[in-house]
Symmetry: C2
Subunit: 271 residues, 2 copies
């Protein structure tokens, strides 16, 4: 089910700037029935992205109504909201009077094996590295070729995610989730000031764990963590069982975050 600018349709102009240049933003929102526990955070990030890309901010109430409409028939939905700068003249210059394109589409939530939450997932280290671009770091824009290339590095179904570094040997995130590590008893997550996406699930974890440090995380340091887990608005808190040949076990901080995720209203990941 999909709405484009409030109309039931499944296509957009082939001249949309979202397609021509990736000129836009998106959010991927996990629903729990008719609720979206992280809704406010999604709307905050979307608004921040609009400021960064100098696009008019959307109306959250209108978006919420459309999210409800498209997901009404799905008991367990993921809704993607895409905002683009709309259509315009050919060329990079943003049109002076553009009307945004607003796509709200619902999908069935992915089936995630219970073992992933209980025992953790296997990951690999990607050779694709992320470029430093502070102008675009943090926001969830439509220029995602780095993530596509990183995810295309493997098709072994036993590998669920890939960790991605920047070009200085610092781990940034997984291809579609943020990363947390417990090192010397301290929870920390990589900075996303230069690259990476500031996930809404990441923000929820940071807020729930007041002592969480946000800083650069060299890969070598990351690999000696006592716990590693991923945060994702769609998949929740996923313990990391292995990065390549290095193995980990879900520990107390990971378990506490999984319990917190249930308290937020998500039900898919009872550990």
């Amino acid at each position: 089910m999909m709405l484009v600018n409030g109309q039931w349709q499944d296509s957009v102009s082939a001249l949309d700037r979202g397609l021509s240049y990736g000129d836009g933003l998106f959010e991927t929102i996990r629903m729990v029935g008719a609720q979206a526990p992280l809704w406010e955070r999604h709307m905050q990030r979307l608004a921040a992205g609009c400021v960064r890309l100098r696009m008019p901010a959307p109306d959250p109430q209108q978006l919420w109504r459309e999210v409800q409409q498209v997901s009404a028939a799905l008991p367990d939905a993921v809704v993607r909201v895409t905002l683009t700068r709309g259509t315009g003249e050919r060329g990079y210059a943003p049109p002076k009077t553009s009307s945004m394109t607003r796509i709200v589409a619902a999908f069935p939530a992915p089936m995630i094996p219970a073992a992933f939450y209980r025992d953790g997932i296997r990951t690999r280290l990607c050779t694709t590295t992320l470029a430093d671009q502070p102008l675009l770091a943090g926001i969830k824009h439509l220029n995602r070729l780095e993530q596509v290339l990183a995810r295309a590095e493997w098709d072994d179904p036993l590998i669920t995610e890939g960790l991605v570094c920047d070009q200085h040997g610092q781990v940034i995130s997984a291809t579609a989730a943020n990363l947390f590590a417990v090192i010397d008893g301290v929870l920390l997550t990589p900075s996303v000031e230069r690259c990476g996406v500031a996930g809404v699930a990441r923000a929820a974890v940071i807020q729930a764990h007041a002592a969480c440090e946000i800083r650069d995380l060299p890969l070598t340091e990351c690999l000696r963590a006592s716990e590693l887990f991923l945060s994702s608005s769609v998949r929740g808190i996923l313990p990391v069982q292995a990065v390549g040949d290095t193995v980990y076990a879900p520990g107390p901080v990971t378990r506490a975050m999984q319990r917190y995720w249930c308290e937020l209203g998500f039900s898919m990941e009872q550990a």
Copy 2:
């Protein structure tokens, strides 16, 4: 006029990966009547981009037929060819069996004042800098937010282009054209191994001027050039009259390249 996968239509699926992730490539081709003087170079770059993004290469003959169809009614057209990885499941992983989306759209060529070719254009220095990403440098992919941000820095109609540097103080290009400089009597153009687009017009200039050097070009060095010009498949050879307050005059190398452009078959820029 527009063909999408060979059909006369002007829309694409709202789930196209070109829109979702910028997962694709494009070419912007200047026609001279029914001819495209730089066609072979466009097809070479498109094929190289497909290899880089691991997408199947298109059929150049099919594209050529479609370019002819969409531009037939326009005496002076610019045709944009866009190739995306098509639609797929939600998520970054490229679909195992994807059929590409192929958009071929014709536009009237832009009206460019004769004075631009005669006297040059005014440019500014953009504050937006380009990120180093060798995996994507050179190809003309759909992740163009850096160019959009750079082009959004000004709306003074007297400023035609903006020069963009990387994050190390090297000039790379204009927002939508490549840059050439004559320094100490030597023609040179910045390397696009780390960022920037390897323009087809740039390739034609390099081939025509055997002694052209391709290397890093510090901004400070660039600004003391005796000649500066831009190359663009759409706009041809544009002398740079000013970068901010620093002024230049079209010189003999620029004029020779403009004459060469006419020899290639382009008629729009008799200097």
